[in-house]
Amino acid sequence: MENRVMGNLVIVEHDNNEVGAATLHAVTAAQQIGGDIDLLVAGENCSAVADAAAKIAGVSSVKLADDAKFGHHLAENLASLIVDVAAGYTHVLASATTFGKNVMPRAAALLDKAQISEIVEVKSPDTFVRPIYAGNALATVQSSDDIKMITVRTIKFEPAATEGGSASVEAISGGTDAGLSSWVSQAVSNNDQVDLTSAKIVVSGGRGMQNGDNFSMLHSVAAKLGAAVGASRAAVDSGFVPNELQVGQTGKVIAPDLYIAVGISGAIQHLAGMKESKVIVAINNDSEAPIFQVADYGLVADLFEAVPELDAAL
């Protein structure tokens, strides 16, 4: 185990066209671990992704597995490929998105390795910090595995530069078509809007919004600020907005420069997804709402008056 040369394999998240932004954060985590960084691009007709990945700063080589069986990133097929490729590495990383969280534990189990979920800090090549209990505690854990399987919480690592690298691209084969699952469809409701996970400003609504139509008020403010719209679980559960807008312990974890929480009470599970934001604004008519305890600027007001006023002031 001690004789292994340190090397990182980062699994690239992509849509067969572009490198997903989350991957750039995982590359930075790999840089902090140290050693070479290779990227694995698995997909179908995805050579453009490999070419873009080769330009990411600090990358040594890109392994491209271009095959129909990887087209939709089905966990069974992709995990078998990761197992084939991982053998030469000390660290295998992916972003802690639904892509990484789905496939990495499967690959880890096949390799008989533990997974270290959602690291927020690299202490040393074998020691990492990860949040537990909805971020109310931070655990420092040391791994004894010879291959460390890691998912990376993006907000705690800056994105690697998308230019500056000149890695080689090597076509590889491997992995099996397990024939266990097949992709049917994907419903994306709002692809014309700013991406919630990378937005500098986020305007989120909660149960206080009362219905989906009222979210148009938030969209209007967001459009003026170049912001993304988010939501609490209560707003998603009530059917006001689709699930991909959910911020929190079991939704997306984000850290924009500015987070504006409108009609959101500030439950532990919601705070878990946004309390690392640089500046937090809360608009709520209940001065006792827990959201005010984390807000830099609190406005105790009826949102149906305050939000149109805010819109007009921008």
């Binding site: 971020g135 854990v141 699952s181 604004v281």
Partner: protein
């Protein structure tokens, strides 16, 4: 078909975790514990599959010591047919838990396993995927809709981009998201009935598995808190502060 539902005992989601002064972990002494909410969704789905005639028998299983039995009794009160506790006081990692659950799934000859998508204490989000890998079965995580027809299941998954629909071959391991269903409330007569339902206890050591942990927790700390902010009196004051003080707009 028999179904295995994996459940975990966790700190009640309404309770804020407190870190121990010696930084060895989170203080759970006398804390209110419940069944992990996602596991309730998993069990509720199993109950509905039984009501729909797809499933004949529901087994709830949990790996843990102490009062794990309470959590399993809650599962029986919700309507599971019988329970299995794999008894250990060790805090197994998801890989170890998956190895144990694999053995249970095979011994019981179940046709499907459903777990929660993540436990709200360790937030690992691993166990179902690992179990699926070890069994060599198909995998469907973060389910918000499950339809089983013969030896195929059509599953809608909550993913970052929205909703993804996949088809998986049975047997499968699935993990439940919160919007899969609304778990039922347990009524008092059900609690009484649950006391008479079968509860098997298996010592972890008797399974002969390598469940050794790979991670050592060096310390558990409280994160830095946020400094208290200010209350502004008007929208115009807010906008002024965001522009000139925080400089974020």
């Amino acid at each position: 078909m028999k179904i295995l539902v994996c459940v975990k005992r966790v700190l009640d989601p309404q309770v804020k975790a407190r870190v121990k002064a010696d930084e060895s972990g989170v203080d759970l002494a006398n804390a209110k514990m419940t069944m992990n909410p996602f596991c309730e969704n998993a069990l509720e789905e199993a109950l509905r599959l039984r009501e729909a005639g797809v499933v004949e028998e529901i087994i709830v299983a949990s790996v843990g010591g102490g009062k794990t039995e309470e959590t399993l009794r809650h599962g029986l009160a919700m309507g599971a047919d019988r329970a299995i506790q794999v008894v250990t006081e060790d805090a197994l990692e998801p890989l170890g838990i998956a190895k144990v659950l694999k053995q249970i799934a095979e011994q019981e000859g179940v046709g499907m396993v459903i777990a929660g998508k993540q436990a709200i204490d360790d937030d690992s989000n691993q166990t179902a995927q690992m179990l699926s890998a070890l069994l060599g079965w198909s995998q469907a995580t973060y389910c918000s809709e499950i339809k089983i027809e013969g030896d195929m299941a059509t599953v809608t998954r909550e993913v970052d981009a929205g909703l993804e629909t996949i088809q998986v071959k049975m047997p499968a391991v699935m993990s439940a998201d919160l919007r899969l269903n609304e778990p039922r409330y347990v009524k008092l007569p059900d609690v009484m009935k649950a006391k008479r339902k079968p509860m098997d206890k298996i010592e972890l050591d008797s399974l002969g598995l390598d469940t050794a942990n790979r991670l050592t927790t060096l310390k558990v700390e409280e994160p830095e808190g946020r400094a208290a902010g200010v209350i502004v009196n008007s929208v115009s004051e807010l906008v002024e502060k965001l522009r000139n003080e925080a400089k974020v707009i």
